[in-house]
Amino acid sequence: MSTETVPPGRGAAGLRAFLHGLPGVDRVGADERAARLATRSIKTTAKAQAIDLAIAMVDLTTLEGADTPGKVRALCAKAARPDPEDRSVPPVAAVCVYSDLVGVAVEALDGTGIGVASVATAFPSGRAPLDAKLADVRAAVAAGAAEIDMVIDRGAFLSGDYATVDAEIRAVREACGDAHLKVILETGELATYDNARRASWLAMDAGADFIKTSTGKVSPAATLPVTLVMLEAVRDYRAATGRTVGVKPAGGIRTTKDALKYLVLVNETAGPDWLTPDLFRLGASSLLNDLLMQRRKLTTGVYSGPDHFTLD
């Protein structure tokens, strides 16, 4: 589809020229497109299917300073069996924790097939020496993390120092070993959609397996239009290089309605190929219960209150 290709062996200037040569993004148009897709009506069988798909795409997340091993174990139990009363509910995709709690999660999820994702690299600010970030990553991988969510150096990106961001992602990619790398762009701090598209390409070219919108600690976190821009980027990147990269919106996705809007966006932008947990994730903590509540409404025909679902 796209004729864009990443120039081989480019230096800092070449990288910059390439990123600035990408087609621009018109904010009004992107917002409009996302808003229009959000009016799609997903009902009955499509809704039931979409809810299960959304559950299977959730990266169930706890990223608080107050996290304890107990809380993480409880979260893992929920991840494995989201609705204890209904065994037909699929497990979530992964549990996402800070690097020091990876060991606890790995042990708790042993045998479930659910991966442990860890936010390493001095999450959420990313403001630490590269050595410290790499040590963080290695520790998480050594403890059994199957996925690493790294944050990019937004300061370097915004100052136009793309080469530093590029080098850092490559270094982390290497430190990840077999673990999947999700690169968090923190689009709320990148401010423009042009930057979101450039950062997407930069991350994909440097080896990201996933590009992720946000840490969830900055507002705005994930939005439909910025996810649209990133979905266009992975679609174009595959057309240009043949490599398929996943997308993960994270932060602020709380309701089933929101989650379904994201699935519609995936379906009609990148395409149905991306409608799998291997290529699309929803980073969320409170979304799961709403999905469960809507699911039960569909199967039983009646609403049960929030107290019918477990808190952790």
């Binding site: 589809m1 621009g24 993004v25 018109d26 009004v28 992107a30 009016t39 299917q49």
Partner: protein, 477 residues
């Protein structure tokens, strides 16, 4: 593909009550028509919806006389402030009944409910609200301190935006103190007749708004009638010419809003994904039944291949089908006659050597349908590049320089609208200055607002509708 297929999500038809037959709305009451009644058809199924009266010469006389009486006794002498109250009331009723009217419009016209619900109806109400605001401020419209109404306005509107075109015509006419006799298109009369009911609900004095239905002959009688002071027409250039001939030499004032063959110019530095979206919106909105549709894509050669690939991928996601399904993007063609015309022109495109492409899509087995179609390798001399098709058919041409883009864009008998797509503001302005078109959209397309005047150059007609400029067509000053 089936992993996440959308289940049908049809809007309920229960909100509308379509009567088996309709009369003419004259002097505040529904009456029989002297002509042979005709049927209005649901384009999505081809089935008849209702029988509608046809106005003959005596009916036109009656309607014009009622409008004259209302003009002289009630509406003309009324203060602008009081006229505004009626217009605001109509606007609010339209909002309250917007769901019903949107469903009715989609049934009678074939357009997707997504458009009638999200575009048509909000704009219809907005036009009444906007003009209600002008009714008591006409002295500040830049047309002199005390502009006066013209009298009785004869208005003939097309089938592509039945209720919206009605609003464009009736709202400014009433705000300025005129009374109206309006003839909707014979294939889409139902929302105009529903609007008659809105007028009654608003207690609008009898005769201020009269709706007469019928085919071309009724329109001819109305336009030629001695008792009208102003003629406003939206429709084909061919009919527009005939009306201009009829009105020439009389005291009647005339505005014409006719056909178009708009260029959507995409430069190589355009925001490509949004440009694709704008091009899709420009030509497939309302099945291309839009006089300002961007039916000619002019794309810079350096990005033509990539852009057309993206466009095709996007077109493949368009959902064609039941207009009442909330997920439908492209609905039914309005009539069998229009479908035949579109098919004929598309065949001509193939015969003349352009390359035809449509995404794979299953069209319903009954009703009138045409798949979204893209022609590449089009030359200016092809019929599909010069004639208005008024359907979901896009002709793609290329250009090398901004000068060439402007020349090709202007190389048409029409001049209603154009689109320019570029991230470079200076270039956009340079191009826009040189385009002979009533509206030039930059990095967007098909955007309407009651405050923005709309109208054409050359064979796209004359006069403006909407905004301060639109008031001039209904005022003596």
């Amino acid at each position: 593909m089936d992993l996440f297929a959308y289940a049908p999500a049809p809007e309920s038809r229960d909100v509308v009550d379509i009567r088996p037959s309709y009369g003419l709305f004259v002097d505040g009451a529904f009456t029989d028509g002297g002509g042979e009644p005709f049927k209005t058809v649901e384009p999505a199924t081809g089935e008849a919806l209702a029988e509608v009266a046809s106005a003959d010469a005596a009916d036109v006389d009656r309607a014009v006389a009622a409008a004259r009486r209302a003009y002289e006794t009630v509406w003309g002498p009324m203060s602008g402030r009081d006229r505004a109250k009626y217009l605001f009331r109509i606007a609010r009723i339209l909002q309250e009944r917007s769901r019903e009217l949107a469903v009715l419009e989609s049934i009678d016209n074939g357009k997707p409910i997504r458009e009638s619900r999200d575009v048509d109806l909000p704009l219809v109400a907005a036009h009444f609200f906007y003009h209600a605001g002008w009714a008591d401020k006409l002295g500040h419209a830049g047309l002199g301190a005390d502009p006066r109404p013209l009298g009785v306005a004869a208005q003939v509107i097309p089938w592509n935006f039945p209720l919206l075109m009605l609003a464009w015509k009736i709202a400014p006419a009433l705000a300025c103190g005129n009374t109206v006799v309006l003839k909707p298109a014979e294939t889409t009369p139902l929302t105009a007749l529903a609007f008659a009911d809105v007028c009654r609900q608003a207690d609008l004095p009898p005769g201020v708004v009269n709706i007469i239905t019928g085919a071309g002959e009724t329109g001819r009688l109305l336009v030629a009638h001695d008792g009208v002071d102003k003629v406003a027409f939206t429709g084909s250039t061919e009919v527009g010419r005939e009306i201009a001939r009829t009105v020439a030499g009389t005291r009647k004032r005339l505005t014409l809003e006719l056909g178009g063959k708009a260029a959507n110019i995409v430069f190589d530095d355009a925001p490509l994904d949004q440009a694709v979206e704008g091009v899709v919106n420009g030509i497939f909105f309302n099945q291309g039944h839009v006089c300002c549709a961007g039916s000619r894509l002019l794309v810079q050669e350096t990005v033509a291949g990539e852009f057309l690939d993206r466009l095709k991928a996007r077109m493949a996601t368009l959902r064609v089908g039941d207009p009442l399904d909330k997920n439908t993007d492209v609905g039914a063609i309005n009539s069998a006659a229009q479908l035949a015309r579109i098919a004929d022109l598309a065949d001509a495109g193939e015969r003349e050597g352009a390359e035809r492409w449509s995404p794979p899509c299953d069209l319903p087995g009954r009703g009138y349908w045409f798949a979204p179609t893209l022609f590449t390798g089009v030359a200016q001399s092809h019929r599909i590049a010069s004639e208005e098709i008024f359907g979901p058919v896009l002709s793609a041409l290329t250009f090398r320089t901004p000068q060439e883009a402007v020349e090709k864009a202007n190389n048409t008998p029409y001049g209603l609208s154009a689109g320019v797509w570029s991230e470079k503001g200076s270039r956009t302005l340079w191009v826009a200055e040189r385009l002979r078109a009533g509206v030039v959209w930059a990095n967007t397309f098909n955007k309407f607002d009651p405050a923005a005047p709309f109208g054409g150059y050359k064979e796209s007609g004359h006069g403006r509708e909407g905004g301060r400029h639109g008031l001039e067509a209904y005022l003596e000053h």
